[in-house]
Structures are given as structure tokens and as C-alpha cells.
């Protein structure tokens, strides 16, 4: 019980997010209308994904320094969860774009950057799949993971800000926080970010434990 308080917290926050996200009052904005509620889901998923991928890169660095197989295991599971969050982020963003921009996947630098980021991490998984020797796989994929994260950052956070983009917070557009969100929305949005991140860590923890057990069983 002592160690699971954060899981309870995650469940509580996400329940609160879902209920208040759907029932709570939101400001009426032109074009956005009710779809502004997606801010509670789409944006926290991307925040969560970035955190998970950063953690994955950190564990890859730790693996290269320590050589412990466990660090590699944690790194790959964080990357896996990050990919799931990224796909969900793409899906929610796509629904949102359909209603506000008129098409599910407009040709926009931010969206394409996100798609390339997904390719980057799929390539990471394929790279892992092509080794038989475990130590070799761990070391080489750790190298690629660090390299991939270093490319991921400019791809998502720097390049879209330089070009014209529909996406809020890019290409000279204001981010959502500045004009559209009132304090009532913030009361849901910030907890949602924490809640989704905790959920991601929780999923990762379960997968890491599963893979540890598998490793022991195989031995």
C-alpha cells in the first residue's frame, strides 16, 4: 500500500479528468467550440510521451555507463509506452484536426514531425529485433536510442516553430494557455498532465516487471 499511493493518485486524477473534462464548463471559442475539451487529452498525451521518451533516453545512458541488463529493459519499455502514447496523441489530434481544420491530417510541419518521430522509434524497435545476442542488442540499441532522442527534440520542438503551422504554439501562433484557457480549464489540464504521465509510468512498471519475470523463467 505504501508504494502504490501514486497509482491510486493516477486513477483518481484520471477519473477526475474524464468527468470534469466532459462535464465541466469551458469557454466558448469560435471554431473550437466544444472540441476545446480535447486539450485535456491530446496535450497531456504528448507531454506524457515526451517525458517517457526522455526517461527512456536517460536509462539508455545509464545502461551504457553501468552495463546492467535491467537498465536496458527499463529503457525499451519506456520507449514502448512512449510510442503508444504518441499513437494515441496522433489519433486524438487527428480527430481534433478533422473538426477544426477540416481534414484529419493536414500537411503541417508539426504533424509531419510527429509522424517522423514515430518512424524514428519504430526503427528503434526494428533495430532491437535484428540482434540475437542480448548484450550486443542492448548496447547498440542504447546508442541508437540516445541518438534518436537528440533528433526527436529539434524535430518536434524547434523545426515547427520556424515555419508556418496551424498548430497552436508554432509558427507564431500563440499556445493554448495564453488566450483560450481560463482558470477553470487549468484546474483540469494540469492534473491531467500529471495523471497521464503517472499512467504511462505505471504501464511501464508493469511491463518491466513482466519482462524481468520472463528473463528469470528463461534462465
Amino acid at each position: 500500500m505504501k508504494n502504490s499511493w501514486w497509482k491510486i493518485l493516477a486513477v483518481a486524477i484520471l477519473t477526475y479528468t474524464v468527468f470534469w473534462g466532459i462535464l465541466g464548463k469551458v469557454p466558448r471559442q469560435p471554431i473550437l467550440n466544444e472540441s476545446i475539451r480535447n486539450v485535456y487529452f491530446h496535450v497531456p498525451l504528448w507531454f506524457g510521451m515526451t517525458t517517457l521518451l526522455l526517461t527512456s533516453a536517460i536509462f539508455s545512458i545509464r545502461y551504457l555507463r553501468s552495463g546492467l541488463a535491467d537498465h536496458d529493459r527499463i529503457a525499451v519499455e519506456f520507449a514502448n509506452t512512449g510510442i503508444v502514447f504518441g499513437l494515441l496523441g496522433c489519433a486524438t489530434g487527428s480527430v481534433w484536426a478533422n473538426f477544426t481544420w477540416g481534414e484529419p491530417w493536414p500537411n503541417d510541419p508539426k504533424l509531419n514531425g510527429a509522424a517522423v518521430a514515430m518512424l524514428l522509434y519504430f526503427a528503434y524497435l526494428i533495430l532491437r529485433g535484428s540482434f540475437d545476442d542480448e548484450q550486443r542488442r542492448a548496447r547498440i540499441s542504447a546508442v541508437y536510442n540516445i541518438f534518436a532522442f537528440a533528433v526527436f527534440v529539434p524535430l518536434i520542438f524547434i523545426l515547427p516553430r520556424l515555419t508556418d503551422s496551424l498548430h497552436p504554439g508554432n509558427g507564431g501562433n500563440p499556445a493554448f494557455g495564453q488566450y483560450d484557457m481560463n482558470s477553470q480549464m487549468r484546474m483540469v489540464f494540469y492534473p491531467a498532465v500529471i495523471g497521464f504521465t503517472l499512467l504511462g509510468v505505471w504501464i511501464t512498471e508493469l511491463r518491466v516487471r513482466l519482462s524481468r519475470i520472463r528473463a528469470v523463467v528463461e534462465e
Binding site: S130, R136, Y144, V151, L159
Partner: protein
């Protein structure tokens, strides 16, 4: 310091000698880019100046990208494992990756230069600011060489390295490629050079990041 520069020089000299003695690989790359340009020329059955500048530019960079991937993929598979092991006892891994990157930069500069001349010859040359275009080619050669050399090292350790090389490198070089496309498009349109400084700055920043990472990560790679 002087010692390590001397070693670096020796390694570079080895790379050039190796290439010179196995000329078929070098000639193969040269023929590859000329052939690719010619295939594009015939496929579009384009008379000079028929392609719009955007298509002209994009096509050239894509040819260059594939040439780069093919040329750099062989940096680590050319030599047998035993011989690589021997180098590692002689020099530090940083020197080896640096010599490979420098060598690949020279190779890419040569390929890009040749490609540009042939491409402009058969498909016409709409570039108004040739100096800036050549600068973007040089930056591209450096960036491709820097980012793809480490990827080639990674891919050469795996079993089906040819596919892996392509899969791993496409997303990695994409930010670089997009920036280069923009700089070279500015050069074609003959825009004022001050417009391109931002992009050039970013290309240089990406190059610096990639070089630094290759320098730091390669020692871990060769140990396996």
C-alpha cells in the same frame, strides 16, 4: 595533441589509400549518382527547364540522399572484422570515427559536386545564387556524413544491414534534409542571403549535435 593529429592523419591516409586501391567501389558510387541523375532525366523525359524549380530541387536532394546512404553504408563493412580489431588496438575509437566522418565528408563533397554538375548539365540550371547553392551542398555533405557514419556503424553490427541502414537513417536525416531543401530553394530563387541565415544556423546546430553524439557514442559501439 600533435600526436593525435598525426594519428588522425594516418587514419585518413589509410581511408584514401583503401579507396584508391579498391577503385571499383569509388567508381561504383560515381556511376551510381550519374546513373540516378540520368534515370530521372529520362523518366521525366524532360527537356531543359521543363521542371519547376521546386521539383528540380527536391529531386536532386532525394538523389543525393540515396547516394549518401549507399556510399556511407559501406564505411564499416568494407573491412573485415579482424582488421577493424587491429585498428582499435592502434588508435582510440574517437579518432577512428572522426577519420571515417572526415573521409565521408570528402567523399560526399565529391559526389555532390559531380552530381550537381551532371544534373545541371542534363536538366538545366535554374539556380540564381550558385554560391549559396554550393554552400548548401557543402553543409549537406557534412551533415549527411556526420549523421550517417554512426548509423552505418550501428547497422553494420546487425544481420540485415542494408535494409536497416535505410530504415534507421531516413528519420534521422529528415530534419536536416528539410532545412537544406529550404536553403537551396532560397538559393534557386535568388533571395537575399540574409533570409537563409536562420536555416543555415539550424543546419550547423544539427551538424554540431550529431558530430558531438557520434564522438561520444562510438566508443560504446565498437566495444561490442
Amino acid at each position: 595533441m600533435a600526436e593525435s593529429v598525426r594519428q588522425l592523419g594516418a587514419l585518413m591516409r589509410k581511408e584514401f589509400l583503401l579507396e584508391w586501391r579498391q577503385r571499383y567501389a569509388l567508381n561504383g558510387m560515381l556511376l551510381y549518382i550519374v546513373g540516378a541523375v540520368f534515370v530521372c532525366y529520362l523518366s521525366f523525359s524532360a527537356r531543359r527547364g521543363l521542371l519547376t524549380p521546386i521539383v528540380w530541387n527536391t529531386l536532386f536532394w532525394i538523389i543525393l540522399l540515396f547516394t549518401a546512404i549507399n556510399a556511407i553504408a559501406k564505411s564499416f563493412v568494407q573491412e573485415r572484422a579482424g582488421r577493424l580489431l587491429y585498428y582499435y588496438t592502434l588508435a582510440s575509437p574517437q579518432q577512428i570515427i572522426l577519420s571515417k566522418i572526415l573521409y565521408n565528408i570528402v567523399l560526399m563533397l565529391a559526389l555532390a559536386g559531380l552530381g550537381f554538375v551532371v544534373y545541371a548539365f542534363v536538366l538545366g540550371n535554374p539556380v540564381q545564387d550558385v554560391l549559396l547553392y554550393l554552400l548548401s551542398l557543402a553543409l549537406g555533405a557534412i551533415g549527411f556524413a556526420a549523421s550517417l557514419t554512426l548509423i552505418a556503424g550501428i547497422a553494420s553490427k546487425a544481420e540485415n544491414s542494408a535494409t536497416l541502414m535505410a530504415v534507421l537513417s531516413f528519420p534521422i536525416v529528415l530534419p536536416l534534409l528539410l532545412m537544406l531543401l529550404r536553403v537551396s530553394k532560397n538559393a534557386i530563387d535568388g533571395l537575399d542571403r540574409s533570409v537563409s541565415w536562420d536555416e543555415i544556423g539550424i543546419v550547423l546546430a544539427i551538424d554540431a549535435i550529431v558530430l558531438a553524439l557520434s564522438w561520444m557514442l562510438f566508443p560504446f559501439l565498437w566495444r561490442s
